[in-house]
Symmetry: C2
Subunit: 242 residues, 2 copies
Amino acid sequence: MIRFYAPDIDKTLTLPESDSGHCCRVLRMTTGDIIEVVDGKGNSFQCRITDAHHKHTKVDIISNSVEAKHWIGRLTLAVAPTKNIDRMEWLLEKAVEIGIDRIVFLKCERSERKDIKNERILKILVSAMKQSMKASLPEFDGMVDFNKFLSEDFGTSQKFIGYCSSEYPKLQLLKEYNPGTDAVIVIGPEGDFSPNEIKNAVDNGFKCVTFGNTRLRTETAALYSLTNIHSINEYTELHKIK
Amino acid sequence: MIRFYAPDIDKTLTLPESDSGHCCRVLRMTTGDIIEVVDGKGNSFQCRITDAHHKHTKVDIISNSVEAKHWIGRLTLAVAPTKNIDRMEWLLEKAVEIGIDRIVFLKCERSERKDIKNERILKILVSAMKQSMKASLPEFDGMVDFNKFLSEDFGTSQKFIGYCSSEYPKLQLLKEYNPGTDAVIVIGPEGDFSPNEIKNAVDNGFKCVTFGNTRLRTETAALYSLTNIHSINEYTELHKIK
């Protein structure tokens, strides 16, 4: 069943304009038809259309269910966006498909891209959520200053930064990560972090890690490291490895 | 250092036309300059330009080295290409970056795309190889009939097919895969495999597996499952889990 997105459906009982248009004009659904509406907060509603309108379709809620989270740990991915925005949009789509709790775009000293269109990002996140049959959107911060991000309180999360230099011990993410724990992964810009930024990250408890022995593009490193963590969490759970 | 690709550099001592153009016209390198040339078979050559020509640059080989493979197991990914070819090109780039031994495009009953431009694919593979600092290209088969592929002899490889239906036990790739072994992963078309195709796969020793509890696009499933295997192999090696 096609999913529709309406963040306040339980209060408004109305689909937003874009989803109303898709529902009534594109899919030609009409009064009495049953649709599924998600609110991006983990709730999924079975609804009956009471007024099929191409701009504000009204519905009644028949039933609702709460989505069970399908991955382990709270996972935050913070990445300095690439100059080529397509690569970031691709990353967002894939990250939502495989599972992510929070996405942050970082403004670093050597960032080639210092701004981002938040509405465009939200559109991609919503589309990936619907397509992968989810009811939750990841938290999304927009552009955040790198040093400000570092100073956040991440509680008991393990904090990793993708960086390799002879100044710091060469650690492997897959060796350092403790299965089941929350994690923050930081991926730098194409021109890499500055020495000051790395020092600040290490001072704030981030571990410099690499992801195997190959050179990865920014968006590949982000998706690869996120998948590493999902893999280890699933593997250790399936095999009951403590 | 920029890498150049010349599959028979040790015999011809000449860069092909495209790389000659890139070297001499774009990068303005000239006689006496030192360049690195890879042959796509795992060999990397340090060369000195003896005749800078925009179509057939001549070189002398100063030294050569053989690339150490940076991942575990021989990994084959066979995927039915999506209608949107960009998604496949993206997959190829990422698969080469993270490590893959062989890529096969499958022609299935319900394939939306039945052909593919082999030269275009090779170009993407070469570009990803250079960009990720490798000297090896994966084997690439072009389009292969699904049932023909199934009948190949894969030796001691574990064989997996991404498929989920109540007719077959629901197995998890991360539970079934034995770390360190060679693996073949098969990913179907957007319209899924036909019942006959699945029966034929199972008869040929393929295990039907899923990759966690989320719905993934074709190209995401391919990259995710490949990364699952890399992750488990690295994790068990780093932690000495047998």
